[in-house]
């Protein structure tokens, strides 16, 4: 009798499970957030460096991230001012503008070094000071790239009294190539991006001018992102520095020593520079 019951159970239980299956709810999928990065490097470099960081965050947080790659810095600026990305890695000027336009909140920034714009020329050129660039063509990544372009142009114009022709070439890497190939007499960049260039590029360039240091690029979040998630993301990024592998990932995205950012402390001074005079509004 007992055996008969067991046999019936073996037959009926799978049938009951099959019948009950359509009534189950679909599997839960984590919410998806977009993550945009200022394209001061090539899209390939950005994808290569940021994808591992986002995969790590997905691993420790119940969310998914989609890397949004802008074709140029103006396009990026346009998307940020429109509030499109949920998270953005952007320069301090963009941070100020995005804060003002959409209320983006900085979460973490690099604490190892401050952001400093540099003006480079070919190492074997006869240019030794900013004054030698009077009337020359100078390459910049984009009009509103903060330290490399905006802050630099403001200083060259206001402080150095230099008259020059600005050529916007898209990326920091391209700025350096323009200077090296003689397409521009000089180029505006930042120390962090120059340090990432191959030795052949670094050795062939010479820095003739530096901007004062400001807080580095932050990772900012749109206000629609829940504060708890913002905190979790910031903690996760800061926590990456606790391991060698994590430090390697952070080094690649120019956040070698991440620390929690504060808008008033870090980026309000940038707003006080009144750089809008040199900014080019993003196309609509």
């Amino acid at each position: 009798m007992g055996n008969l019951m067991v046999r019936w159970c073996r037959v009926l239980l799978p049938l009951a499970w099959v019948g009950a299956a359509p009534a189950q709810s679909p599997p839960w999928t984590p919410p998806l957030y977009t993550w945009s990065v200022v394209p001061q490097f090539t899209a390939l470099d950005i994808h290569r460096d940021w994808s591992p960081v986002l995969r790590h965050l997905e691993h420790v947080l119940p969310v998914r991230f989609e890397l949004a790659l802008a074709k140029s810095i103006p396009k990026f600026e346009q998307s940020v001012l429109a509030g499109e990305p949920d998270f953005a890695y952007l320069n301090p000027y963009h941070m100020v503008k995005a804060h003002a336009a959409q209320g983006y909140v900085p979460m973490v920034r690099d604490g190892a070094r401050m952001l400093r714009g540099i003006l480079v020329v070919k190492a074997d050129d006869e240019v030794h000071s900013v004054a030698d660039l009077q009337g020359a063509v100078i390459a910049f990544p984009s009009p509103n790239a903060f330290a490399a372009s905006l802050y630099m142009r403001a200083l060259l114009h206001d402080t150095e009294g230099l008259s020059f022709v600005a050529r916007y070439v898209g990326t920091h890497s391209n700025v350096y190539r323009h200077a090296l190939l003689g397409k521009a007499a000089a180029g505006g960049g930042v120390e962090a991006t120059l340090s990432r260039e191959p030795p052949g590029v670094r050795d062939a360039l010479r820095v003739i001018f530096r901007t004062p240091a400001t807080a580095a690029h932050p990772v900012a979040a749109h206000p629609r992102v829940p504060p708890s998630l913002r905190r979790q993301v910031a903690d996760a990024i800061v926590g990456l520095a606790g391991s060698a592998e994590g430090r390697r990932l952070l080094q690649a995205v120019l956040l070698p020593r991440p620390q929690v950012a504060d808008y008033e402390r870090d980026y309000a001074p940038v707003a006080a520079l009144d750089l809008d005079r040199f900014a080019v509004p993003a196309p609509r």
């Binding site: 090539t42 070919k122 070439v169 391209n174 350096y176 190539r177 090296l180 190939l181 397409k183 191959p198």
Partner: protein
């Protein structure tokens, strides 16, 4: 005498380098040289083909790469994205054999330059290499092979409607030359292996014939002492086997001729001795004839005077007469044999001649002559006088043998004739004591006799006369039972 044969060292000293090698070494050297030449020619052809294939591949691959770079780079050049262009050139420079990629604008200003040394990482350079001359015709791709520098240079124009830039790729042709070296090494290794196998196979194949030839050479060297012995024939090669068989035949022939020569020498020696003896016998016989005639005349006179007076004396005289006749016979035989007079043959009916001659033969008491003449009409060419000696000698021998055999139921001599082919056979068959083996072997040896009174010239004289007639004589004897003497004579033509 060495095992290799007589005078090999002296023979070798007179030969040229090639001839001195020997057949097996010549075959091995010729085979190796032929194979080496084949391998060399094949290798050269293979190298040429392989090198052309690799050159063609290099041309096609480099041209394709140049076209791809041009198509991809055109946007970057127009947009002045030199960082992207550099990345493109770096990626492209990772292709095998690429040494450098250069991009210059239509005026020759540098746009990008990537160099890859050996198998290292591509390195960007920001100074154009010296002495770069752009092609004059922007309407097509330019491919230039610099074999001395082992490089291939492709200039690819980057154009829309107008020329925007040039892409120059320099590719290494080392793989083509390395392939040539590799093919050379592989072919030479394979060729050396083939030559080694060829030499080993030839050594293996030729070892048998070589051993046989060496054996034949040694055998030929001692052929004079071989005494008819033969060399073992090993199945190695047709020519060698034929040579060995020919040597064996030569050995046998040499031995036979040596034996014949020895026999001829012995006969010649005997004949010379007999000739000397014959001359002496003839002289003695001739000198004895006169005394014998005197004795015979004296005996006849005594017989006439003392007949019927002294019977005992008469008997003694008769014995004396018979002895005298026997002496005459011996003297005649000796003279006949020694003189070897030429025969004068005339056509003679055989049976009639024999019947006539046998009628004059007086057999001993109790012995009969049975003439079974069965060749009527058969004629032979005979010297009738000399052939009479043959009949007399054979009858005397038969009668003596019959006497020696003692009393028998049949004491007869059968003389028979018969035609056999173009010959006449005459047999004298007696029922005597026969002949021993030794007597049979020496029957025709002059001066050999088993008779107490004979000088041993009867049968030699018979053979001499038969040979002079172109015939032959043969004796068949069964000791204790009798003897048959067979004479063969050519039949006379009609």
């Amino acid at each position: 005498m060495s095992a290799r044969g007589p005078g090999r060292g002296a023979a070798v000293a007179g030969l040229g380098w090639w001839t001195r090698r020997g057949l097996h070494a010549q075959l091995i050297i010729a085979g190796a040289v032929l194979l080496a030449a084949t391998v060399l020619v094949g290798t050269l052809i293979n190298i040429a083909q392989r090198r052309e294939e690799i050159l063609e591949d290099a041309r096609a691959n480099t041209s394709t790469l140049a076209v791809n770079i041009a198509l991809t780079a055109i946007d970057m050049i127009v947009a002045e994205r030199y960082d992207d262009l550099e990345a493109l050139l770096e990626r492209s420079a990772r292709f095998q054999s690429v040494r450098s990629i250069l991009a210059v604008d239509a005026h020759g200003a540098l746009l990008g330059f990537v160099v890859r040394e050996a198998d290292g990482e591509p390195q960007a350079r920001y100074r154009a290499p010296a002495r770069i001359e752009r092609p004059q015709d922007p309407g097509r791709r330019h491919v230039h092979e610099d074999l001395a520098a082992r490089r291939l240079i492709v200039w690819q124009p980057v154009s829309t409607t107008d020329l925007i830039a040039w892409v120059r790729i320099e590719a290494s042709l080392e793989p083509a030359f390395a392939a040539r070296t590799r093919v050379l090494q592989q072919n030479l290794a394979a060729g050396a292996g083939a030559i080694a196998v060829d030499v080993l196979l030839l050594l293996l194949i030729l070892s048998g014939p070589r051993r046989s030839v060496r054996g034949a050479i040694a055998f030929a060297g001692r052929l004079a002492d071989a005494k008819g012995s033969t060399l073992q024939v090993r199945p190695t090669a047709l020519e060698v086997d034929t040579l060995v068989r020919a040597l064996n035949d030569a050995s046998r022939m040499l031995h036979e001729r040596e034996q014949a020569l020895q026999k001829a020498n012995a006969e010649l020696l005997g004949k010379e001795r007999l000739a000397t003896l014959g001359q002496m016998a003839a002289t003695v016989s001739h000198e004895l004839r006169n005394p014998m005639g005197t004795i015979r005349n004296a005996v006849t006179l005594l017989q006439r005077r003392l007949r019927e007076r002294e019977p005992e004396v008469e008997q003694a005289l008769q014995r004396l007469v018979r002895s005298t006749e026997r002496c005459d016979r011996i003297i005649e035989d000796m003279l006949d044999y020694a003189r070897s007079q030429p025969v004068h043959q005339v056509r003679t009916p055989l049976d009639g001649y024999l019947s006539s001659e046998l009628a004059h033969v007086a057999p001993p008491p109790g012995v009969t002559i049975d003439a079974r003449l069965a060749a009527p009409g058969l004629a032979v060419m005979l010297d009738r006088e000399r052939f009479r000696s043959v009949i007399g000698n054979l009858c005397d021998n038969a009668f003596h043998a019959i006497e020696q055999a003692g009393e028998r139921s049949t004491r007869a001599l059968v003389v028979a004739t018969r035609p056999v082919g173009g010959q006449a056979e005459i047999t004298f068959t007696d029922t005597g004591c026969g002949m021993s083996r030794e007597a049979l072997d020496s029957a025709f040896v002059p001066l050999f006799s088993t008779k107490s009174f004979g000088v041993g010239l009867g049968l030699p004289l018979v053979r001499q006369i038969l040979e002079q007639h172109g015939g032959e004589v043969e004796i068949r004897s069964d000791e204790g039972r009798g003897t048959c003497v067979l004479l063969r004579l050519r039949a006379a033509c009609e």
